[in-house]
């Protein structure tokens, strides 16, 4: 496997970092591991290389099924390969289409894959995602719930609890 940072030298060091209380793992070459421990001013690496590095790592671990039929986003025409290469999404629908792959990437980037910030006004017209996503979300929300209770943020805790209930109800419905 190549180093996930420079994509040039073979990876030899297992590097872990804690992001949002979650452990993020990376495989780096010796040189990059050394540099990553230190400070980088305006780091020279390109974000898209870095992201596609993480994605390839995911496929190495069997997260991606081999010889999968070519997936193309109907709205923007982006293929999974293009997404993997550029590390960028083509449109909002790409997030829906590639969500099972994205969750892993987002967890590595942000330590989390569930939004808990503001939403646009009252018109909450988010997209419905499929089952596995919801299971992950429930786990994420349960973590948030514990945190909120620990911090004695009871209003927030009640809100999160309601969201979990809704999701669980949705999941138990026959598809």
């Amino acid at each position: 496997m190549l180093c996930q940072w420079c994509q040039k030298r073979p990876a030899s060091v297992h590097f872990t970092q804690v992001v949002n209380n979650n452990k993020v793992e990376m495989y780096l070459c010796e040189q990059c591991a050394k540099e990553k421990g230190q400070v980088t001013f305006g780091s020279p690496f390109s974000i898209s290389d870095f992201l596609s590095g993480i994605m390839e790592f995911a496929s190495d671990n069997g997260y991606r099924i081999q010889s999968e039929p070519r997936v193309i986003c109907e709205k923007c025409g982006m293929t999974y390969e293009e997404f993997q290469k550029s590390g960028k999404l083509g449109c909002g629908s790409c997030y829906e289409l590639y969500h099972d792959k994205l969750d892993l990437l987002l967890k590595r980037l942000h330590g989390n894959a569930v939004h808990c910030g503001k939403s646009p006004g009252s018109k909450q017209q988010g997209m419905a995602l499929t089952q596995p996503k919801q299971a992950n979300e429930i786990d994420g929300l349960k973590e948030l719930l514990n945190k909120a209770i620990q911090n004695e943020e009871y209003e927030k805790a009640a809100e999160i609890r309601d969201r979990i209930k809704n999701l669980e109800a949705k999941q138990n419905k026959p598809v």
Binding site: V39, L51, G87, K88, C91, L105, L109, G117, P120
Partner: protein, 342 residues
Amino acid sequence: MLDDKESYGPDSDVVVSSRIRLARNFSKYPFPFRMSKEQGLKVLDEARESILNNEKLSNEKFLFVDVNQLDSISKHVLVEKHLISPDLEESQKDSGVIISQDGIISIMINEEDHLRLQCIFKGMNIDKAWNKCNELDNIIGEKVDFAYSNDYGYLTCCPTNVGTGIRASAMLHLPALTMTGYIRSILEACTKLNVAVRGLYGENSEASGNMFQISNQVTLGQSEEEIVSHITRIIDQIIEQERVLRLELHKQNPYKFEDRVCRSFGLLCTARIVSAEEAVKLLSDVRLGANLGIIDDIDVNKVDELMVLIQPANLQKISGSLLNPYERDIKRAELIRKTLKG
């Protein structure tokens, strides 16, 4: 010190400016790098319509700048002033920026995302910048359907921005931490806390005038308020440390310290040829001296303005002509002398 404290913003001895940026996309079009020419023009039109003709924003004095129509110097002036990004400067797409007359709001259209809403305030004002940017987002959000999912939040072109789409940042002047080398441990600690710190003008911190940009890395899984308060706590710590070290350095050898500051001031007030790199370094000393009361007849705002105006594009814009590097060094010295004495 001169003037009322208000015009500097809180903690201006260390914090030059605070900024919030929100990334937003229109739900009905692909992200900019996947748009057709027609879609790009539609985004530009709809963005202008929803912002410039928005009754709730009618008291903002907005100016739309068609970035594609600007000459290269005028474009780079906006980059040096942090009103547009280098990416927008180089963009081949139909793009633009809406800037408020007071310079607080800038909204980039068709950069990496359809909209990048940005609010900048002087001093340590991340909260104020967030409130302003949040309000702006709410108002524009009434007119535009933003790409949003309940699970991932605001959808952005790059997954590093998804969720809140927020980048909270501050520009810090850290001469004492840099001189003593403690900056390294600060930067290391920040990396562990998922906060990025970069030298501002180039790789070398001396050449950057000891200016550092600090910003959050995580945008998903935390609320905007959590992100803002996390980075605020870190910045508050850095401010404390920088202040302690400034006083300590001064106490240890007041003559040497004051000599350095006053020499730098003297050089800037008299020199006839100054490179950008030298100017930024000397201005950093003057800023430090002014904030410690060693140089007392100088406005720190003017020093901060000079940091921008002495950059190549701004200097040529002020001069109204293209200048070679040698001519620039002469103009730069002239501008600094005039400003510091005025």
